[in-house]
């Protein structure tokens, strides 16, 4: 077993990285003084992995939208009761979620950490479902899909992704549709499970109040050596152009909600992730609360509740989104595009750059203050091929020239779109 201590001088902290003989990588971050622990067991398998090929397959196989999420629901079941019941005996609060590129199972606990980590490692590596139990879950998942159909905040974002992407499956709702999930059955779930729930394609992160030896002992007991992981995920070429510039959906909301998106070029997983950090600094520099743009929008009563910017990346996509509520989303969109165009012409102001660097540093420091946020950050970074401490360094060392390059590449008004949800 390979073990390595990863240190950061700036924070004065360290964590343990373990390559377990089973093939699983574990990142263990004990935190002094904390009462709770947080563990996250993830597979690099999400809603966008709908077309893939294993060593045994002759050609790529396509599966219906929503399989990863369906599988997440069914994993909690086992022959002798479900995982929630098992966790109930340790007092841990358990949950799971599926995102575009991963599925994570997690718990937050205080006592009986050893038992909780055993349950986590055990149920995720031991699938059990029958045609009957799979069919029964359709009702619950349909309810979940309907709940999101009524959620204007969710709809306005997915309508934007549908506008930005022609082929990339990031535009498809994570849970799928009531039609697509009707095609999912037990054999399909088993097939996808055995393809992606391979320990070489998985990660365990733990942070907070625990002893690393407890995790290692549980792993030794429960995990069996996995086969080499050789799955090819199909990447459909994605043109740089967006599908449409504007989309409107009518739902009962008070003030129109908007999402504005800028589609950036794909540079591969790791670079997309690093570019995300830089792009979020650009969002602050161009649309943040210290900008003339923001002041203008606010003073003209166009964004009374403020606006939020975020960049989203994955294996083969990167886009930046600005969202908020406004009585005139078209006007906001126009001004935001103009602000990016102006920033490209004028370049980035030196003082502003220094300020944003400082506030971004403070924000990333915040990631290291809670077990939950450390475990999540380690997971996100690892799957992108980045070490969690690199985040702070990336911000501390970034240059104005780097940001200017990103500004030119990732914020092109021609490759942007506006999504509106209004009554």
């Amino acid at each position: 077993m390979k073990q390595e201590i990863v240190r950061d001088e700036r924070l004065g902290e360290e964590y343990l990285r373990v390559e377990h003989p089973s093939g699983l990588t574990m990142l263990l971050y004990p935190m002094k003084g904390f009462s709770t622990s947080f563990a996250m067991f993830s597979t690099k398998y999400g809603s966008t992995d709908t077309c893939f090929k294993t060593a045994e397959d002759e050609d790529f196989v396509s599966v219906p939208a929503g399989v990863a999420h369906y599988l997440e629901h069914k994993m909690f079941e086992s022959e002798d009761g479900d995982a929630f019941e098992r966790y109930a005996k340790t007092g841990a609060s358990a949950n799971a979620f599926t995102s575009f590129d991963k599925t994570s199972y997690l718990f937050a606990g205080s006592d009986q950490f050893r038992q909780s980590i055993e349950i986590l490692l055990d149920f995720v590596t031991d699938p059990y479902f029958t045609p009957e139990t799979v069919e029964k879950e359709q009702g619950i998942i349909s309810q979940e899909i309907r709940m999101y159909d009524d959620d204007p905040g969710w709809r306005v974002m997915f309508n934007l992704l549908e506008s930005l992407y022609q082929n990339n499956s990031v535009k498809i709702d994570i849970a799928g549709t009531t039609e697509s999930i009707a095609k999912i059955d037990a054999p399909l779930l088993y097939r996808c499970y055995h393809t992606f729930y391979n320990l070489n394609n998985m990660l365990l992160t733990v942070a907070g109040n625990f002893e690393p030896s407890e995790v290692l002992e549980a792993a030794d007991r429960i995990l069996k050596k996995a086969e080499p992981f050789s799955v090819e995920r199909k990447t459909v070429p994605e043109p740089l152009d967006v599908v449409r510039k504007r989309v409107v959906q009518h739902l009962p909301v008070a003030t129109p909600m908007f999402y504005i998106g800028f589609k950036g070029p794909d540079h591969g997983e790791r670079d997309n992730f690093c570019n995300m950090i830089l792009d979020e600094m650009i969002l602050d520099l161009v649309t943040g609360e210290t900008t003339e743009l923001y002041k203008g929008l606010y003073e003209d009563g166009l964004i009374s509740g403020g606006i939020a910017g975020e960049t989203m990346t994955g294996r083969d996509y990167l886009c930046s989104m600005i969202s908020g509520e406004s009585k005139d989303p078209d006007q906001v969109y126009e001004r935001i595009c103009a602000a990016f165009d102006r920033a490209k012409q004028d370049g980035i102001d030196k003082e502003e750059f220094a300020r944003v660097k400082k506030s971004t540093y403070g924000r990333y420091l915040g990631l290291f203050s809670k077990p939950e946020s450390i475990a999540s950050a380690m997971t996100n970074c690892y799957f992108a091929g980045v070490d969690v401490y690199e985040l702070v360094e990336l911000v501390a060392n970034c240059t104005q020239e780097q940001l200017e390059e990103r500004l030119r590449e990732d914020f092109d008004s021609e490759r942007s779109s506006l999504s509106i949800v209004m009554a």
Binding site: K32, S35, T36, G91, S110, Q143, T255, T290, R355, K370
Partner: protein, 431 residues
């Protein structure tokens, strides 16, 4: 067990409370103006923190203020309105990294406290009027906030149920106020509301973090010494009892999923111990991923995606809410009541009790690992006139017996059933 919160009076009706723990990397400070919900004044009061957040006399330019926050390593300055039982809480807060992590040796506690005190106590008021433009913009924002209550259908349905249930009680007064009153907000009326708040209400300043709270305490003490105060005593609310027939209401809207909300009164909670047992009982009933409602209504009968129970000790109300298909709503309602009856008859296992206590313990321990959760916990202790730390609450919970839980379940009485259902044409289309 010692109570870790240190609370001292720093001016008439103004208290500074602090709790320090070196494990954190940040400090959090909040100023909470606590006042009984008042139908006439609630709206004017609700706009005040948002106008203050736009800038003070010394930081009259919003952009300059935000640049200052950026320089303080992205410290966040937030305004908000909360509601606790019958109280409206007007809050301003700041969270910043500790000086240990400042790259240029800034004194972060002092800087953040001074900024917060300035925003609160040096408002941009001239000749008895708030800055006109800021008032107009924040008035619009308040109107939008009031109107946007329909956006989230889950919370909207809960709110409608509570409206119907508590009609004329002050706990049903809306924390952001009312549209017709918001339309009447002027720079004078808001400034008057601010002045009255600063003169008369109880003010609770909270500090949680890893830094030394003393410099912050001194800054607030000095600033408040310049203010003339005539604080009014807060009167604690008494929860109402269920009376009269059960109210049932169905409303329709353009939604795909229906919502079922049931409001219950919890009666006869005379001590903190009883209240604690009630919390456990409600968690066992519908507050955990292994509760009776989750196991039966969702898992066994697949009637819904969520079905949860929540108990608010400050109002003595328990709410059960669920997202259901229209055709399953009656079935879900009957099953929820059936589960409650079973619990009242003691039809639950010893292991359910033990597991709920463990679940509770984890949630309480998690409180001590989060600055925000500690802020809410201790403010609720102060306003509920109790002095129980999360660790002591765990001790109390461990002493709760099966009989206590049954008694707690029997204190729950159904009052109101509310359903938000898809429009009838839509239902037909879906068939």
């Amino acid at each position: 067990m010692s109570y870790p919160l240190v609370r001292e009076r720093i001016a008439d009706g103004v208290y500074f409370s602090s709790i320090t723990d070196r494990k954190f990397k940040h400090n959090r400070m909040s100023v909470n103006l606590v006042v009984k919900l008042d139908r006439e004044k609630v709206t004017d009061r609700a706009v005040v923190p948002f106008i203050l957040r736009q800038g003070s006399k010394n930081w009259s330019d919003f952009t300059a203020l935000n640049k200052k926050l950026c320089e303080l390593y992205g410290a966040s300055l937030d305004a908000g309105i909360d509601k606790l039982g019958e109280y409206q809480i007007i809050a301003l807060g700041v969270i910043g990294v500790d000086s240990r992590f400042a790259l240029e040796q800034e004194d972060m506690v002092r800087e953040c406290a001074a900024l917060l005190a300035d925003i609160l106590l040096e408002p941009d008021i001239t000749n008895g009027k708030f800055n006109e433009k800021n008032t107009e913009l924040e008035k619009q924002y308040l109107l939008e906030t009031i109107d946007s209550e329909i956006n989230d259908k889950r919370s909207y349905a809960m709110m409608r149920c509570k409206d119907i249930m508590c009609g004329d009680e002050s706990c049903s007064i809306k924390k952001y106020g009312y549209r017709e009153d918001a339309l009447r907000i002027t720079p004078q009326s808001a400034a008057q509301a601010y002045r009255e708040l600063m003169r008369t209400v109880q003010i609770e300043i909270m500090f949680e973090g890893c830094g030394d709270p003393q410099p912050a305490c001194e800054i607030f003490r000095e600033q408040f010494s310049k203010i003339e105060r005539q604080p009014e005593t807060l009167v604690r609310c008494v929860p109402k009892q269920q009376h009269g027939p059960i109210r049932e209401t169905v409303e329709r809207m353009d939604v795909k999923q229906g919502k079922l909300v049931m409001g219950f009164r919890v009666e006869g909670m005379n001590s903190y111990e009883q209240m604690n047992a009630e919390r456990l009982a409600v968690a066992l009933f519908g507050g955990t991923g292994n509760s009776l409602l989750f196991k039966n209504v969702r898992e066994k009968l697949s009637l819904c995606y969520y079905c949860a129970a929540r108990y608010d000790r400050h109002t003595g109300i328990m709410m059960v809410d669920s997202g259901v298909e229209a055709e399953n709503a009656e079935k879900a309602r009957d099953e929820i009541l059936h589960q409650l009856r079973l619990m009242q008859q003691g039809e639950f296992e010893e292991k359910d009790i033990e597991e709920t206590k463990l679940f509770f313990k984890t949630a309480l321990k998690a409180t001590t690992d989060s600055l925000g959760a500690m802020d809410s916990w201790y403010l609720a202790q102060i306003l509920g006139e109790s002095r129980v730390s999360p660790d002591e609450e765990i001790e109390l919970s461990n002493r709760v017996s099966r009989e206590d839980m049954i008694a707690a379940a029997n204190a729950i009485k159904l009052d109101t059933v509310y359903m938000l259902m898809p429009n009838e044409e839509q239902e037909k289309e879906g068939e």
